[in-house]
Symmetry: C2
Subunit: 115 residues, 2 copies
DNA sequence: ACAATATACTGTGTTATGCTATGTATAGGG
DNA sequence: CCCTATACATAGCATAACACAGTATATTGT
């Protein structure tokens, strides 16, 4: 049955998180991880991501040269491990800086709006 | 012809700002403003927004009940003034809180990733 | 008076993204 | 042998930001 009229704020909160997803992924892939474990790790750190979001995101990021990946066969099914490329490390630095700038800007706007 | 390979980081930075736009607008509309002046104000506070982004955003936010608007005729051309609705004020509070939570979460992820 | 510019808003089309839903396949427990 | 958890993939949908173009009024310079 769900909620008849979804609070618009829900969608807005989702939009808020949107741009952060790539940054979150970058932050976790200094050491190689596969998609599923990455998802668990992020969920455990208050940054849950849907499968249908994460897997395409990882592929996209590899296409953009931010990540490298390889299949590994251990115990269990084959897993695709992802890790930052050198380019990915640079983009992570840059995006982190940019993020902090944004945080400062928004903080000013918001506190001012609360006055 | 433009640039053949735009830096992927540019797009990512844009995505970062994306979700914040609504919050930024909400923060500025305690007192009524019209689109053009709002755009100037935000640009002056390090939060520039394209016209093609801002005007549809304002309309959407009004549809969602976050803003109220009215045409006013003063000197100069008619201007559509926007201001927060009661609902908009509530959403602004809620989104601000949510934003700060997100900032904390990301901060942890990022600093950890830098270690 | 006229042209040029700044102001102010609108509309169209493109592109990118997140999510839901679904599908595939393997591993392990009861 | 089913059922769940693990692990990855993808098609389809809705939304949103931007580039670009268009409309119209006000102001300024000459």
């Amino acid at each position: 049955m769900k909620n008849g009229q979804p609070d618009p704020a829900d969608k807005l909160e989702q939009e808020l998180r949107r741009g952060v997803l790539t940054l979150a992924v970058l932050s976790q892939l200094r050491d190689a991880q596969y998609g599923y474990s990455l998802r668990q790790a992020l969920a455990g750190k208050d940054m849950p991501i849907e499968e249908g979001t994460l897997y395409p995101l990882l592929r996209r990021m590899e296409e953009q040269g931010l990540l490298k990946s390889e299949w590994r066969i251990e115990d269990g099914p084959p897993r695709r491990y992802y890790v930052l490329s050198p380019e990915g490390r640079k983009v992570f630095e840059r995006l982190s800086t940019n993020w902090r700038g944004l945080v400062g800007t928004v903080e000013k706007l918001v506190t001012e709006g609360e006055s």
